[in-house]
């Protein structure tokens, strides 16, 4: 049977519900700018009615709890896109360091190569001129230096990427530990039907940070999230994290091993670590190899021609350039072998004033090396590749950034906090609270009147 006490109880429950909703709203507003925060809503449920005969009367509202509003699918897409973006960014940053070395300038390889051929051509007009001979040596030295500088840029970049690999692995291990530590807490909450709430937000944020470092596959299990790398190497299973290890490879580069000691470096394809490994182990060695081949073939050709000619002292030409016995390292260590201008083997007939051999030097400019391309075309191809790699990395970075922005918008449309919406909710719950308080006040008044009914009659 309905009573004032029952009404008071309903009003108090309404006060609690409004208070709880205000608390949720307050928490949302407080965390509006907190990275990874998922907005919460108060779960209000109508209390079971009281049935009196044919009359059923409501019993107010119940605050059941709080629920974080999540979209696991979009969250997963963001993780994947973050991996792609970080990989592209790592490659872009590295290419941006490399490509100035291949940009047309007064010091680039192409310009210095042209300068060497120009100096040789200039010498042909006056083969006995010491200054013209010195100009050839200077141009040769400048070209060797240009090769050395570009090679050094690539080597330095590779070295700093190698350091980055160790740093990334260290961060991955740290994040894996933190994620594993949260798994039992979340599993326990979910086992009791509760929302993962703050712990789950933290875990999602940590997984996102991990995604920025490497390719991660996430599987939901009863014991929490299981994380593996792209090739299935486990990182987190339940409350256990599996640290990746590093070791020095035979090439002097840091290799990444799984918990069993298996080398997984080549399987790392995305995230900062994937992009870094891709640049360190594939892109830079590819460019370096082509540069070494060009330097080696160019120097070999010059040395052969020099040997076929006669220097100003009437002797067979000595090597023009010094290069290592193997192609590898040629660009880094190419240097001038001759330093005396008289040793330029300009003559083909043994006479000091002959210039017949210079034509052979000049012909190198338009002759295919054993690579099938002229020296100029080889370098041009290298410039194209560098530009193309940097451009592709930039396009990939821009595309993933844009895509990630849209996905974040999509996630925010579900999980994000809208100050406007929360403000409106606040007013709604404020009014609800005020109304419930008014009911309590009214019932209190009714109680007073009711209590005073007996007193008035006695007087």
């Amino acid at each position: 049977m309905a009573s004032l006490s029952n009404s008071l109880s309903i009003a108090v429950q309404a006060l609690n519900a409004a208070d709880g909703a205000i608390t949720a709203t307050n928490n949302n507003i407080a965390n509006a700018n907190t990275p990874g925060y998922t907005r919460q809503v108060a779960i209000l449920q109508e209390a079971a009615p009281t049935n009196e005969g044919n009359v059923s009367i409501g019993n107010g509202v119940m605050l059941e709890g709080y629920q974080s509003v999540r979209d696991e699918l979009v969250q997963s897409q963001i993780q994947q896109e973050t991996q792609a973006q970080s990989g592209a960014n790592a490659q872009l940053a590295s290419m941006n360091q490399i490509q100035p070395a291949f940009t047309s300038s007064t010091q680039d390889i192409g310009t210095q190569m042209s300068a060497l051929f120009s100096s040789i051509s200039g010498l042909s007009t006056d083969p006995t001129s010491s200054s013209a001979r010195q100009a050839v040596l200077t141009a040769g030295q400048n070209l060797a230096t240009a090769f050395n500088n570009v090679s050094n840029t690539l080597t330095t970049q590779q070295s700093s990427l190698n350091t980055q690999v160790s740093q990334d692995v260290s961060q991955i291990n740290q994040l894996s530990q933190q994620i594993a530590a949260l798994n039992p807490q979340i599993a326990q909450l979910k086992s009791t039907g509760q929302d993962g709430g703050t712990a789950e937000d933290q875990q999602d944020e940590l997984v996102l940070k991990l995604s920025a470092l490497t390719s991660v596959s996430v599987t939901q299990t009863d014991s929490g999230e299981t994380l593996t790398t792209g090739n299935g190497t486990p990182l987190v299973v339940g409350n256990q994290s599996y640290a990746l290890q590093t070791t020095n490879g035979s090439n002097g580069m840091t290799q990444v091993l799984d918990q069993n000691g298996t080398n997984v470096t080549a399987t790392l394809t995305s995230g900062d670590l994937g992009g870094t490994v891709q640049m360190r182990d594939t892109t830079i060695p590819g460019l370096q190899g082509q540069l070494d081949t060009l330097a080696n073939q160019f120097a070999t050709k010059f040395n052969t021609i020099q040997a076929n000619g006669t220097d100003q002292n009437g002797n067979a030409g000595q090597n023009f350039f010094t290069i290592p016995s193997t192609v590898a390292g040629s660009a880094g260590s190419i240097a001038m072998n001759i330093t005396d201008p008289a040793l330029v083997a300009a003559s083909s007939d043994g006479s000091a004033g002959g210039n017949g051999n210079l034509a052979a030097f000049s012909a190198v400019q338009t002759t295919q090396l054993s690579s099938g391309m002229t020296p100029g075309d080889s370098y041009s191809d290298l410039v194209f590749q560098v530009g193309s790699l940097a451009s592709n990395a930039n396009a990939e970075s821009t595309a993933t950034t844009s895509s990630l922005l849209q996905l974040n918008d999509q996630l925010a449309s579900v999980s994000g906090v809208s100050i406007d919406q929360e403000s409106a909710n606040l007013i709604t719950y404020q009014q609800a609270y005020e109304a419930a308080a008014r009911v309590v006040s009214t019932i209190q008044s009714l109680f007073s009147i009711t209590m005073s009914m007996g007193t008035a009659a006695a007087e």
Binding site: F117, T128, A359, S380, G387, L405, I419, S423
Partner: protein
């Protein structure tokens, strides 16, 4: 869609807009559309090729100018030689007259000797330190007064050279004959001795390269002695063989009016275009000793004036006339080359303009286009900032007062 926070999108938009503005500013300040390979990989690669072509054209232009100067210097020498030959021809024609007495002819012979000296001076013309008529042997005078006898520095009575004295492998001994106008070059091989050289000289005499009677013997002082047996046959001998030492003319054996060519027949070439090579020198033997020999004509005419009859002088004058014709014909290709070089200079100038234009279209940007791009980027940037400024402060709270 439920929009909760516009800031990330606005920040992205502002970032994009700033990047576009920065790129437009860079275009205006550098005048380049492509500032690094990633801006346009294909254009950057083509630019490498174009810049190399441009550098080649620059060098071809420099070469053309240098070769032109060299050829002009050579041509100037030719002019002097032609003038000298015409003077010689005039003297010869006068000397051939039956009315000339012996005294006049001796005087004319003296004049011719003076002209010959002038011709030799012209033949030893240098340009920037190089002898233009020396072939590729341009570091020493190509025409040298000849002598009948040369002896080696090595060898003495105490330690005489002999036929079995070994020569240094790779050494070169050259005998240039003023009379035949030819040279014999002997490059010693391993195991060669002075006897080998002697045999080579004998073969050259048989072949007519060296004058008859030219021999190499070991003299009383133990030295190698290379000599002719005719006082009018002069030779010039040089050697870099350590066993022989330097060869020097014996004092008092110089042959009057005899000059040997010690240069070579190599023609140096210089590239002045992708498909054009210019010869930079005319070897002296082609001009002075081969064909209608200039030096032979002088020697013959001087000798005829000193000792011959009017008929001899007439014959020698005709030889001088033939030598003049020969020199003029040798000069023709030189003049043609000079003309081609002038045309090439013009062509290279046009080529440079074409390449510069190509480079501008590859990586450059016109000021008008760059300015327009900048203007558009500024407009877009202003709009983005204005939109952000308008939208960002707007919340429901502004209206709940």
């Amino acid at each position: 869609m439920r929009v909760t926070n516009m800031v990330p999108d606005m920040q992205y938009d502002m970032q994009q807009s700033n990047q576009a503005l920065n790129a437009a500013l860079q275009q205006v300040s550098t005048g380049l559309r492509v500032n690094q390979p990633s801006d346009d990989p294909t254009a950057s690669a083509n630019m490498v090729t174009s810049l190399a072509a441009s550098a080649s054209v620059d060098q071809y232009t420099t070469n053309t100018s240098a070769v032109t100067s060299l050829m002009q210097s050579t041509d100037s020498a030719f002019s002097g030689i032609v003038t000298s030959l015409n003077s010689a021809l005039t003297i010869g024609t006068a000397g051939a007259s039956g009315t000339e007495n012996s005294t006049n002819r001796q005087a004319q012979a003296s004049q011719l000797q003076s002209i010959l000296s002038d011709v030799i001076r012209q033949a030893n013309t240098t340009y920037q330190g190089a002898y233009v008529f020396g072939g590729s042997a341009s570091t020493t005078p190509p025409f040298v007064a000849a002598s009948t006898d040369y002896t080696s520095a090595q060898g003495s009575a105490a330690t005489p050279l002999s036929a079995t004295t070994a020569l240094t492998a790779g050494s070169i001994t050259t005998i240039s004959d003023a009379t035949t106008g030819e040279s014999m070059e002997f490059k010693a091989a391993a195991g060669d001795t002075i006897a080998t050289l002697q045999a080579q000289i004998a073969s050259a005499v048989t072949a007519g390269t060296l004058s008859a009677g030219t021999t190499a013997t070991i003299n009383a002082a133990g030295q190698l002695d290379i000599s002719t047996n005719n006082s009018s046959d002069g030779i010039v001998v040089s050697s870099n063989d350590a066993a022989l030492g330097a060869m020097s003319a014996t004092a008092g054996t110089q042959v009057a009016n005899a000059y040997a060519y010690v240069g070579n027949s190599t023609v140096n070439s210089v590239q002045v275009g992708d498909a054009m090579v210019a010869a930079t020198n005319v070897p002296g033997d082609q001009v002075f000793t081969q064909g209608a020999s200039v030096l032979g004509a002088f020697s013959g005419l001087i000798n005829a004036l000193q000792n011959g009859t009017s008929t001899d002088i007439g014959t020698a004058t005709a030889a001088m006339s033939a030598a003049l014709t020969h020199v003029s014909s040798v000069r023709v290709p030189l003049d043609n080359t000079l003309s081609q070089l002038t045309s090439q200079q013009t062509y290279l100038g046009q080529e440079k303009v074409t390449l510069t234009s190509q480079q501008n279209s590859l990586v450059g940007i016109s000021l008008a286009e760059a300015a327009t791009n900048l203007s558009q980027a500024e407009l877009a940037n202003n709009a983005t900032l204005a939109a952000a400024a308008k939208a960002m402060p707007q919340t429901l709270l502004d209206y709940l007062k």
